[in-house]
C-alpha cells in the first residue's frame, strides 16, 4: 500500500472529483479560487474605482474652504447669540431672529451637504451589493439546473448549494440593513 502525504491525498481527491464530475469541480473549486485570486489582486483597483465614484460626489477645495468658513461662522454666531449684551441689544432692536436665521441656514446647509454625500455613498454600496447578489444567484441557478439534468444529488452538489446560500443570506441581511439605514436618513 502506497503511503501518501496529506497534501498528496488532497490533490488525489481533487483529481478524482474532477475526473468523475468536472462541472461540480469547476463550480466548487476553480471558480471560487479564480474569484478569490481576482479579488485579492484587484482589491486596490476596486477600492480606487469606488473612491473615484464617491469622490466625484464629494467636495472640491473651494467648496471645502467655503464650508469651513461657514462652520466657523455658525459656531461664532452660536456663541455670540448666547452672550448677554449681544442678546440684549438684538432683542431691543428686534434683530435677534435675523441672526438666528443666518446661523440656522449655515447649520441646515452643512447637514444637507453632509447627508447628501453619505446618501450617495450608500447608493453606490447598494448597487455593488446588488451586482454581487445577482452573480451568486446566477451561479446557484446554473448549479441547480445541472443537478436537475444529471438527475442525481451528490455530496459536491449539496456542498456547493450550502456554500452559495451562505453569502446570499449575508447579502440579503446586508441589503436589508442598508435599506433600513437609507430610509432613516
Amino acid at each position: 500500500m502506497r503511503n501518501y502525504s496529506n497534501l498528496a491525498n488532497i490533490f488525489l481527491l481533487l483529481f478524482n472529483i474532477l475526473k468523475r464530475s468536472p462541472v461540480v469541480c469547476i463550480l466548487t473549486i476553480i471558480v471560487p479560487l479564480i474569484s478569490g485570486i481576482l479579488t485579492f489582486f484587484t482589491f486596490s483597483a476596486q477600492s480606487n474605482l469606488i473612491n473615484t465614484i464617491v469622490d466625484s460626489a464629494r467636495l472640491n477645495m473651494n467648496e471645502m474652504i467655503r464650508l469651513a468658513f461657514e462652520g466657523r461662522m455658525a459656531e461664532y454666531l452660536s456663541n455670540s447669540l448666547k452672550d448677554a449684551p449681544i442678546l440684549r441689544e438684538l432683542k431691543v432692536y428686534s434683530a435677534f431672529d435675523f441672526f438666528k436665521g443666518i446661523w440656522s441656514d449655515f447649520v441646515l446647509k452643512h447637514y444637507k451637504r453632509r447627508y447628501g454625500v453619505r446618501k450617495y455613498e450608500i447608493k453606490v454600496g447598494m448597487i455593488l451589493a446588488i451586482i454581487q447578489t445577482t452573480a451568486i444567484y446566477v451561479i446557484l441557478l446554473y448549479l441547480l439546473d445541472k443537478m436537475n439534468e444529471s438527475d442525481q444529488v451528490t455530496v459536491g452538489g449539496i456542498s456547493v448549494l450550502f456554500l452559495a446560500l451562505l453569502p446570499i443570506g449575508g447579502q440579503i441581511m446586508a441589503l436589508s440593513l442598508v435599506q433600513f439605514v437609507y430610509r432613516r436618513i
Binding site: F69, R72, M73, Y76, S78, N79, S80, L81, K82, D83, A84, P85, I86, L87, R88, E89, L90, K91, V92, Y93, S94, A95, F96, D97, F98, F99, K100, I102, S104, V107, L108, Y111, K112
Partner: protein, 319 residues
C-alpha cells in the same frame, strides 16, 4: 421627542421655543444653565429676553412725524432684585421723565443706573413698584416699549459680520437700503473708514479690523438708522479718549433731537447740558435736579463735580 432635528446641536433658544420639535444629537450637549453662566448670563435673563416678541416690520419709519414729542416714563416705588442676588439692586426708585426731556443718570459703578435702563427698555420687570410708559398720554405695554427705543449700550454689540448687518441691527427693514445705511454711518461720522457696506468685519473671518472708537461710531450709526421716541446712551464712551468722547457726546445730543433721551455717564461735565440729573448711590436716587440746582445744593453731585473739574484742570495743565 420628535424626529431627528437638523438643529442637532442647537443652542438653548430652540429648546425653549420648540421643546417638542428639536431633538438633540447624542454626544452633543445642550446649552445648560451652567453653559449660559459661562457666557456671563443668567438663565432667567435669557428666558426674559427670548420672551420678548420680535417684529422688525412694526418698526415705524414715520414715528417722528406721528409722535413728535417722545415717550414719557413714570416710575413709582420701584425695587428690583436679580434672581440670584440676596440684596436689592434698585431700592424705592421714584422718578418722572417728561416727553421730550433730556435726562442724565450719574453715580458710581454698581449703583444701579444700567439696571434701571434695562427696566426702562422693558427688558426686566420690577420686583415691586411700577414703571409706566406713555405715548401721547396713552399708556403702552412693557413688551411694546422696545420698538419705540434706540440704545447705545456701554458693551454695544460687535458682531463679526458684514458692515451692512452691523448697522442694520438698528432697523432690519433697512438691510438692503444702501442710502439709509450710508446716511446713518455719515451721521455717526463712520463714513470715513467704512467705504463698502458689504465689507466683512473681523480679521479672523478675512475682514477688516476696527478700533474701539470705530466700533463705537458704528454702534451709534445703528441708532441713527432707527427712528425712535426714546434714545438711551448707556455710557458708550467709557473706553474712548477725551476727544472722541466729546464728539460722541455731541453725537448723542444730536441723536436725541426733540425726543426723550437718557444718558448714563460718569463725566459730570456732560450732565450740564441735560434738563434733569439723577444721582445714584447703592441702588437709590440720592439727589436730583438741574446741574445748577445740584451745584447750589452742595451735596454729593457738587462734590463729585468739583473733584472731576479739578482733575480736568490738572490734566489740561499737564497737557
Amino acid at each position: 421627542m420628535g424626529g431627528k432635528s437638523i438643529y442637532g446641536f442647537s443652542p438653548i433658544f430652540f429648546i425653549i421655543e420648540h421643546p417638542a420639535k428639536h431633538d438633540l444629537v447624542a454626544g452633543e450637549s445642550p446649552v445648560t444653565r451652567a453653559g449660559l453662566e459661562q457666557n456671563h448670563m443668567r438663565y432667567e435673563d435669557y428666558q426674559t429676553y427670548l420672551s420678548a416678541e420680535e417684529d422688525p416690520e412694526e418698526t415705524s419709519t414715520n414715528l417722528l412725524k406721528t409722535h413728535p414729542v417722545g415717550l414719557g416714563i413714570t416710575i413709582e416705588g420701584l425695587t428690583f432684585r436679580y434672581p440670584t442676588n440676596e440684596t436689592d439692586t434698585l431700592k424705592n426708585i421714584n422718578l418722572t421723565i417728561k416727553p421730550g426731556s433730556k435726562v442724565a443718570f450719574v453715580g458710581e459703578n454698581g449703583s444701579g443706573k444700567s439696571t434701571l435702563i434695562k427696566m426702562i427698555l422693558g427688558l426686566y420687570k420690577p420686583t415691586t413698584g411700577s414703571i409706566k410708559w406713555y405715548l401721547d398720554n396713552q399708556e403702552i405695554e412693557a413688551n411694546q416699549v422696545a420698538k419705540y427705543c434706540r440704545v447705545v449700550f456701554q458693551d454695544y454689540t460687535r458682531l463679526l459680520r458684514p458692515v451692512r448687518e452691523n448697522v442694520a441691527i438698528g432697523d432690519m427693514t433697512k438691510l438692503d437700503d444702501d442710502l439709509a445705511l450710508m446716511n446713518a454711518l455719515e451721521s455717526a461720522n463712520a463714513n470715513d473708514f467704512i467705504k463698502d457696506l458689504d465689507s466683512h468685519i473681523g480679521p479672523q473671518f478675512g475682514g477688516i479690523d476696527l478700533s474701539g472708537g470705530q466700533w463705537q461710531r458704528l454702534a451709534t450709526g445703528r441708532a441713527y438708522l432707527r427712528e425712535s421716541l426714546l434714545t438711551v446712551f448707556d455710557e458708550p464712551t467709557a473706553a474712548l479718549d477725551p476727544n472722541s468722547e466729546k464728539k460722541a457726546f455731541e453725537m448723542f445730543i444730536n441723536l436725541g433731537g426733540q425726543q426723550t433721551s437718557i444718558i448714563i455717564t460718569h463725566r459730570l461735565y456732560m450732565a450740564k447740558f441735560v434738563d434733569e440729573i439723577y444721582m445714584f448711590r447703592n441702588g437709590e436716587i440720592v439727589e436730583h435736579g438741574t446741574h445748577e440746582e445740584l451745584i447750589r445744593a452742595k451735596g454729593e453731585y457738587e462734590k463729585m463735580f468739583t473733584q472731576q473739574a479739578s482733575l480736568y484742570a490738572i490734566q489740561s495743565e499737564v497737557v
